[in-house]
Symmetry: C3
Amino acid sequence: MLTPLQTDLASVVEGVNLVWVLTVTFLIFFMHAGFAMLEAGQVRAKNVANQLTKNLLTWSIGVIVFFLLGAAVSSIVAALTSGSALDITGAFMSLYAPDASATTAWVDWLFGAVFAMTAATIVSGAVAGRARLRAYLTYTILIAGVIYPVVVGFTWGGGFLDALGFHDFAGGMIVHGMGGIAGLTAAWIIGPRMDRFKPDGTANVIPGHSITFAVLGTLILAFGWYGFNVGTAAAPLAYADGAVTLGSFAYVGRVALVTTLGMAAGAIGAGGVAMYKTGKVDTLYVANGVLAGLVGITAIADDIVWPGALVVGLLAGAQLPVIFEFVEKRLRIDDVCAVFPVHGSAGVLGALLYPVFAVPLWHDGASFVSLAVPQVIGVGVIAIWTFVATAVVFGGFRALGQVRVSSDHEREGLDTAEHGVDTYPEFGSPDHDTGIRTDGSGVPSGDGFMTTGRED
Amino acid sequence: MLTPLQTDLASVVEGVNLVWVLTVTFLIFFMHAGFAMLEAGQVRAKNVANQLTKNLLTWSIGVIVFFLLGAAVSSIVAALTSGSALDITGAFMSLYAPDASATTAWVDWLFGAVFAMTAATIVSGAVAGRARLRAYLTYTILIAGVIYPVVVGFTWGGGFLDALGFHDFAGGMIVHGMGGIAGLTAAWIIGPRMDRFKPDGTANVIPGHSITFAVLGTLILAFGWYGFNVGTAAAPLAYADGAVTLGSFAYVGRVALVTTLGMAAGAIGAGGVAMYKTGKVDTLYVANGVLAGLVGITAIADDIVWPGALVVGLLAGAQLPVIFEFVEKRLRIDDVCAVFPVHGSAGVLGALLYPVFAVPLWHDGASFVSLAVPQVIGVGVIAIWTFVATAVVFGGFRALGQVRVSSDHEREGLDTAEHGVDTYPEFGSPDHDTGIRTDGSGVPSGDGFMTTGRED
Amino acid sequence: MLTPLQTDLASVVEGVNLVWVLTVTFLIFFMHAGFAMLEAGQVRAKNVANQLTKNLLTWSIGVIVFFLLGAAVSSIVAALTSGSALDITGAFMSLYAPDASATTAWVDWLFGAVFAMTAATIVSGAVAGRARLRAYLTYTILIAGVIYPVVVGFTWGGGFLDALGFHDFAGGMIVHGMGGIAGLTAAWIIGPRMDRFKPDGTANVIPGHSITFAVLGTLILAFGWYGFNVGTAAAPLAYADGAVTLGSFAYVGRVALVTTLGMAAGAIGAGGVAMYKTGKVDTLYVANGVLAGLVGITAIADDIVWPGALVVGLLAGAQLPVIFEFVEKRLRIDDVCAVFPVHGSAGVLGALLYPVFAVPLWHDGASFVSLAVPQVIGVGVIAIWTFVATAVVFGGFRALGQVRVSSDHEREGLDTAEHGVDTYPEFGSPDHDTGIRTDGSGVPSGDGFMTTGRED
């Protein structure tokens, strides 16, 4: 029985926790602006509006699906795979009609939703420039409603991987790893953009249209990532047995530190390898290295000490150029925005390195094997599930001949062909045959801002 | 009489509330970057710097005027229209020299100021490409100092519309609706850009120069909008009669949820209508649909349940293409950045739909009529006041022949003509006759960065 | 001895303070996106990727150096110059292995780190377009590890300037002033870009490639600056002697207000002087005036009342065009992004105006002289130290012929020459002889995204 003052204190604790969760949720939402800019910058000018449209619709459609279906699927999958009581009605009703006094139910849902949408939006970068919008959006509905929620059900939701001891602090594997694997799978099934590989199988480079937008996106993502990682320390204060404690904030300083060092070391790792191989510091390797470093540290940010963060960041960055070339030259998959090396392999790497770097747990007597086995199983299960589910969806569309736009539309560019717009009408129009912008006339043409539905 | 511990608790409550209000105020301020990018992307390359300058000066001049005059005008108008005691000196002095211990007075002012500046900056998007800077800035001073503050005085400030029961949670009508109506009025009086309509009255499309910047602006605005709506739950904690309660946070989860769903449904509504009419998903309709959905939900986000938010968002999005075409084809008004369909009609729609969707109030026994009448009166009063005040200001400038730049300057572009700069000197220079960028020489020309005041 | 409830309250206070410090730290981190865009927009298209790379690496390398070395250097310098006990091991160990319960140690470090990186990144804007990457990064290591930490050791860290009474609230001089002076020194030693000055010594204007990116950067910086200034009220709540007080939040309303007014007045001051001299409102003067106003108010935001903020903002803005021209025409230094007038002279101005505008202190009986003398000494010491240290580093590189790229590389552009990338491959390629973009072919060329390390 709480005294009146203890009751007051509990309300203050709830208020502080709400302020924090909402603030970091907004930051994570803002990562969509980061993804939009990062991806837009790395595609051809003729495909920018298509990429931006996919980003906007991934969020818009995905978040509704995740509300109506995905969150409940997580609960149900968790119950099914953990042997706990199955309550299908309750899984839906907890969101549809939460107890009136439980204002936190929807706040917690939104916090989960911004993670889910991050996983979903990663895929769009891999399939840029040739995926049909209908196929992509169908996949968006499925990843938001089922594919990602199943992974959460296995893990954070309390399913069998959680019971096994699988550890992923803020989604290095669950969010980024699965997103990167899904993207690679989709890009593999859809096939490369035309002219991406020469007849002899060697690669052509198709540079993105604006490094400036790509770097802007990188920095917006890094900003939002502080919400992602540090915000996962989601309840700054805890109140139990009539006593307040610092809750997850007891380790938040360490999370903020290792996130910072992992990000920084990632840029150095990626840039350094590029420098070593060619003598030049490729801007996009440095930028994507920032992101790979962040992905690498995300699964383990709560249990790693700072020297480990530097090592993990360096490794996550250094693997980026290596894996990017492997995907391109060996697998011959056209992963346009490098989402696999940035999110996929870096996420797997971080999750698998957990037993090596979980220093505080060693002190508690945890053995390497007891930490490693759940990680290997967890990474394997998530990777296989993501690969199979993604392959089935895109494979189905491919079997129907609906997975990519016509080669005419691809050559012309998806912006005019699929969306009826020209992203940059004054900076040279795309040649409808080559897709390359060759003149700068930009004469108002009936295409452009809000031209759909016109009769004149 | 509070005990020492209760006094301590009251200080903590005040601290938490300050942390929250400041955080969301910063987010709302950041919406100016969103407006700047959204508008810049939707104007011609030759008018980008002009648009950006207007955005910077709207904030810079407007916020000073709102401090010196606008906030006091709100208080005075509220007193005058509610019959409460008029204290003109006090209206000014509460900001000029608040009680030393009242640190919250200025924080609350800043929270109000970022809303005021949002209303003011919306107008610039409607009059892009031809408004004279002096006329625009004079209007900025008046909207910041009088026109918007009068609306606040009628409503949130405690004036007669507030007494009637007019409900607008976070400014769907008070901020966005009035801004959109002001923009339409100004665009109507100034007249269309040259070549916007053919001699036979049908419309020419003049596409904006960068969809990428427009979408970036959209996502920045959506990010800031969480501050706008969720932040309006401005006092997470309340302390009264010696007891702490969750204050406005009791419903903050619902506000966060319906804001998210309204935004998402808005994109689907606008994109869906465009798709239905033309078979193509116009990127700018989707982006502006995000914003229309947000505007639509803003007035009613505290009293709507989630199925209603989906409906309101869909409607607010779906009306966007319809109203945009009506304004263009029937009214023949050149609303460059579509501020009326996005902010104006969506804001009116949301405010008028309040009685339909105020589900929690129905349970409390409120009748539809008792909810609807104040909304109709409130929307009407705000619309008429905004229309008349705006028409008087811009009509006055038009009568003096000072409302728009010369046709030579308009053709050349406002950037070189009015600001002495070229936004993109290396990506083709604007032809001074046609205003179209035709070559890419970009030879340093004496125009550009900080060239004013030069003698050599 | 605290009662259980007092202990609980102390935990809540710590939680609120952590939430606030983390939130504002993220905002200040985001300023790097602002600097990246501001600087990218103000350089030639052929040098954009170089500028972005420098920004990314300044953060990535700098923050690691500041962790490993810089923070400890501050402590050591503070001890050495204040006569307090020197504890070199402790200076390092407080970060390397803080007490396990002290979660705030790393949070406080990160809060300091984002300030340090702001100072470091300012320099890159001054030396754009010709500095060799190796020289620049060496300087980055030194400013992050030694040069800036020494300044902090003298001042905030508790060294002799602090003991003298030198006042700099949030780094107007310590961060921005020193960054601006460092930039000017570096630009002077490196020499101007080719063709920046004519043979007769008069200036050529080399306009930046995108005003849109520059204004975006400005608004991101203004957003982050609220974290910078208001966030420096770093502990909203204080708990001492068993009683909670509003800590630094007792004056946070004033800080938020004067930051807003200073920013706004800065834009008006700079734009107004430009208008007065040429009749045109130069967009970049207005944008940089926002920043100069913010710099000017930063040192004194805690002790100035609002009319003073308007005056300081106007002065800080108005000096911008004047000092920019002085640096260009008299000193003939090529400060590409105007970092000296924006950060350097505005920072000096604000710090020196402190005794004039520290109104609250006058009421406490402080004399003008007692306030002025420490400011003059502090500004002088910081300026001299920064100048000498920067001159030694860049002078050393110049003596070795390593301070700037070859004239061939400078003409070609640093992006292709030093980074192997073309920022905008589809919007005209830079002529490798003149560095001017003359065609729009954008044929995939093997340069561009992630091309390093390729063999085919």
